[in-house]
């Protein structure tokens, strides 16, 4: 396959960026999107040019490292749900197609270089409450705490979040509500999360606001692009739990 690429190049966080055009030639249809960039980078290196910088790690869709906004959609084409960029294959594109490759955009995700953005704001939100304060030790006995199947399933659904930040990048408001909703719901839906439920919710929302993420206005673009298929009902839960936590704090 031959493709025309328009790739965002930016030397550093402060440098002015621009779209640069490249030809990706002889790309096997079975290459992943990142492998296609690898092939192009080999060519650039051979010519003595700077390779395109992009984030990647596991390349099997579970680590949340890869990003890229492809033709305007984080992690690529609209009709492919639950896909990370590393699991996107070139056979999904057509020969000769022009592809825009740009970073995950949000003011809270500053560009480090080219397509790499700093997503540590999500880590800081996680550190503000996305855990259970507990004595670290051996794993508890199985079934020591009974959890109804439906609750276990809904907690697992939220826990599937890999923290890639596609929700923020897809949101017209750069809101992190799907991420925070997933992290809050994951623990607030389990018995182990109950003692710190209110404080967790208040702290994580406070941190989310401090980090400069926008406000959800229910566009639900996040849900459509989420590679872990997190539903927006985690945002419903976040809205509910935040109000309950605020009231509880006010009357305590």
């Amino acid at each position: 396959m031959n493709l025309k690429l328009k790739v965002w190049r930016q030397k550093s966080a402060t440098a002015e960026g621009r779209l640069a055009e490249y030809e990706a030639r002889n790309i096997p249809p079975d290459a992943s999107f990142l492998e296609m960039l690898d092939i192009l980078n080999e060519e650039l290196l051979a010519k003595g040019d700077e390779p395109i910088a992009f984030d990647h790690d596991c390349r099997e869709g579970i680590c949340g490292s890869c990003s890229l906004t492809i033709n305007g959609i984080p992690h690529g084409p609209v009709n492919l749900s639950a896909t990370t960029t590393c699991q996107l294959y070139m056979r999904k594109f057509t020969d000769g197609q022009t592809i825009y490759i740009e970073p995950f955009r949000a003011r809270s995700f500053p560009i480090v270089r080219d397509l790499i953005v700093d997503r540590s704001a999500l880590d800081r939100i996680q550190r503000s409450g996305g855990y259970v304060t507990a004595r670290a030790g051996s794993a508890p006995d199985g079934n020591a705490i009974l959890i109804p199947k439906t609750e276990a399933d809904s907690a697992m659904e939220a826990a599937a979040c890999i923290g890639c930040g596609a929700c923020v990048a897809s949101c017209p408001n750069a809101s992190a509500m799907l991420f925070v909703g997933a992290k809050v719901s994951h623990l607030n839906r389990l018995p182990q999360g109950q003692p710190e439920r209110h404080q967790r919710t208040l702290n994580m929302v406070k941190k989310m606001d401090e980090e400069g993420f926008g406000n959800c206005s229910n566009h639900y673009e996040c849900e459509a692009v989420c590679p872990a298929e997190i539903p927006v009902t985690v945002i419903t839960q976040l809205n509910r739990d935040y109000a309950a936590a605020s009231v509880s704090k006010a009357v305590s």
Partner: protein, 249 residues
């Protein structure tokens, strides 16, 4: 925990309890709730709900125009017979209107700042005309409300209305016989209902009352309700323009 840790007295391990009065803590609560992103969404949803209530109530009142002329005129007199209640409702609505607009403009400004520079290629996963135009449709409805109040409530835009004391029936029909007035009205209620088609379904989501099983019903029901309201409001100027409604005198 106390037992595990040797039953230490509580006071020695904890800071002295906060004795601040309830009133200050309530003020603090409201202030910090309003400062938060989710708190502002709650304010928008609450005020939106109040305004939705008015939009529905006003429509039910208006549709009486299809009855005998006395019916809607008596209804208008009934409303004006209790000026205190009328002004309470008007004040609540005005406050809700102001808060709704002020808060959404603040949210929209914050959102624009949070997004920063956008990508060269912009796309969405599905078309979203109502969601993308909430601020524009809202502000155009605001300009309509200002005109509508001047037109029918203050009655300063049409000299013929001065002599029609409580004859709402004649006033509405004379007003809508002007195609420009009717056209602006139709456009405005269309924008209002476009706004509501997103607004209705957003209210339960913000209140934390959405769920996987309810979701479809909330989305479809909200959109259906918005367009039923549009049909209701649009029916009046259309009936006047099509001469199905004519002045009694």
């Amino acid at each position: 925990m106390d037992a595990v840790l040797g039953n230490a007295p509580r006071a020695s391990r904890h800071a002295a309890p906060n004795h601040s009065s309830y009133s200050t803590s309530a003020v603090n609560f409201l202030a910090s709730f309003y400062r938060s992103s989710i708190g502002k969404k709650w304010i928008v949803a609450l005020t939106g709900l109040a305004l939705i209530g008015y939009v529905i109530g006003h429509l039910v009142g208006n549709l009486q125009i299809f009855g005998a002329p006395e019916k809607i005129n008596q209804y208008a007199e009934f409303l004006h017979s209790m000026p205190r209640a009328l002004w309470v409702v008007r004040s609540v609505l005005l406050a809700a209107f102001f808060l709704h607009i002020f808060t959404t403009i603040k949210l929209a400004t914050e959102n624009r700042a949070a997004k920063g520079r956008t990508n060269e290629m912009r796309a969405t996963t599905s078309p979203k005309p109502a969601k993308k135009t909430m601020v524009v449709s809202g502000l155009l409805v605001l300009s309509f409300v200002a005109y509508h109040l001047a037109h029918f409530t203050a009655r300063i835009t049409d000299a013929r209305f001065e002599k029609l004391n409580h004859d709402v029936h004649t006033m509405v029909i004379l007003g809508f016989q002007n195609p420009l007035v009717s056209g602006f009205y139709l456009l405005s209620v269309f924008l209002l209902c476009l706004h509501l088609s997103h607004g209705f379904q957003s209210v339960p989501q913000t209140f934390g009352l959405n769920s996987k099983s309810l979701r479809n019903a909330i989305t479809k029901g909200g959109q259906a309700l918005a367009w039923i309201i549009f049909a209701g409001y649009a029916s009046i100027p259309l009936a006047v323009l099509l001469k199905q409604l004519t002045p009694a005198h």
